[in-house]
Amino acid sequence: MSEYHLKTPIEEEEVRRLRIGDIVYLSGTIVTARDAAHRRILEYYRQGKPIPIDLRGGVIYHCGPVVLKKDDEWTVVAAGPTTSARMELYEAFVIEKFGTRMIIGKGGMGMRTTEACRRYGAVYTVFTGGAAVLAARAIKRVLRVEWLDLGIPEALWVLEVEEFGPLLVVIDSTGRNLIERVISRARKRRDELIRSLSMESR
């Protein structure tokens, strides 16, 4: 378990160095995107329309923040991660077509994202779910917001962050998936438990 401090945009070799269980603190720019934003990114790509953000070497954060607007300026009040599994439908495509290097979320992602991370050089990391104030404190500024018509939680919030973390590497660029490992061990334990249950009832 090593600790890294990275700056955006992230280079491929920096990402390729990371391994599951490593901890990253991130500085630079990150963009929030949830279900609706991902759906629109794909739609725009298929229609050949440009998206309003540059994701090359970039970081996507699965998050719908609580924000406050004062004198035309936005501040982020609370901004922990949302469940990433819902974005499994889209993320491999986004990594491939837009060159995203890091996805931040919670709860883990599946096979397609793992394969895209391996092939194109990206990682999936988790920020502690629910630790929304800790996250907001590392967000220094709202640089801009796009697609606000999707609603506050679903919009693309472009954020400047400083030492954003701890981010735990869950999927690295070698095809390893930490949560998958934990769950497959849990599945074996589940089978033992169920076997002993059916013994009891005999």
Binding site: M1, G21, A78, T83, K106, G107, G108, L134, P153
Partner: protein, 289 residues
């Protein structure tokens, strides 16, 4: 009385969103001592640090301030019209959303439209129960979406009995994996109609304190066994591996139809936010956690 109730509910929502109840805090601190893997400790450390920061900066613990659920218990002799209480709850929801602030979460499932104030059709969620006496008790629960996402309702063959119930709960926790922000509180509803099973499971997960014992000895034993078995799965904080997958297992039940045995499993995340408003007939009000 209207404004007393509205005011107290806004305060309770503020309290619930910013301060975790002491029983949940203690359970998390205990989990920190129990964990020996570095990965698990980093997660619980972040959780505990976040709790301190939320209180220090007066901000919601989690950005998902949930769908707001009110569990109301009204004394037969409280003497205030129910529509007055209902109006106070809806307006308190609007005010709390703007004042704390809370994330506007209610979305029309057909149009995707978000009214922006956490109200809407059947929103906020209000459950009414009645009791002897002349007081009013309202438990406010901001219930996050991540933990609701992994809810399970299964109709088991009645012949399987409590062994069947255990299988459903173990599988629900395994399938939920890292998604509901473990360590979670697992609520289980047995029997009843399908509606009561889910209702009891959610209520057990969200409003029963962690430091309480089930009054039914059979269920108390089942809760203890499931607590150890679920933690032996090793899913751990945030699903990254560890000893603490659940902080507690809370079971409630109803009589059922002989032919059906509903088992509902509802999760509450580690940010198990709640606060209780007590209002007396004389207009006095207190908030407890």
């Amino acid at each position: 009385m209207y404004s007393i109730i509205e005011e107290a509910v806004v305060h309770a929502l503020t309290r619930a969103n910013i301060h975790l109840p002491p029983d949940v805090k203690n359970a998390l601190k205990k989990a920190y001592k129990t964990e020996d893997s570095e990965v698990a400790r980093v997660q619980i450390e972040a959780i505990l640090r976040n709790l301190e920061l939320a209180e220090e900066l007066n901000r919601p613990i989690c950005q998902d301030t949930g769908l707001i659920v009110y569990y109301v218990r009204m004394g037969y002799d409280f003497g205030v019209r129910i529509d007055v209480i209902e109006r106070a709850l809806i307006n308190a929801t609007r005010r709390a959303t703007a004042e704390i602030p809370l994330r506007p979460n209610t979305v029309d499932p057909l149009t995707g439209e978000n009214p922006g104030d956490n109200t809407g059709r059947n929103s906020p969620i209000i459950h009414w129960e009645f009791m002897k006496g002349d007081s009013l008790e309202i438990v406010v629960v901001p219930k996050g979406g991540g933990s609701e996402y992994v809810t399970v309702l299964e109709m088991i063959p009645p012949g399987l009995g409590l062994g069947g119930v255990k299988r459903v709960v173990i599988d629900a926790v395994l399938e939920a994996g890292a998604k509901p922000c473990p360590p979670t509180i697992v609520g289980v509803g047995l029997g009843g109609g399908v509606d009561t099973a889910v209702y009891l499971a959610k209520k057990a997960a969200c409003i029963r304190r962690l430091d309480t014992m089930n009054p039914n000895p059979t269920l108390a034993r089942l809760e203890d066994e499931l607590y150890s078995e679920l933690n032996s799965l090793g899913i751990g904080p945030q699903g990254l591996g560890g000893r603490t997958t659940v902080l507690g297992v809370h079971i409630d039940y109803s009589h059922r139809h002989p032919a059906s045995y509903p088992v509902a499993v509802v999760f509450q995340c580690w940010a198990a936010r709640r606060a209780t408003v007590l209002v007396g007939r004389d207009g006095s009000s207190t908030i407890i956690q």
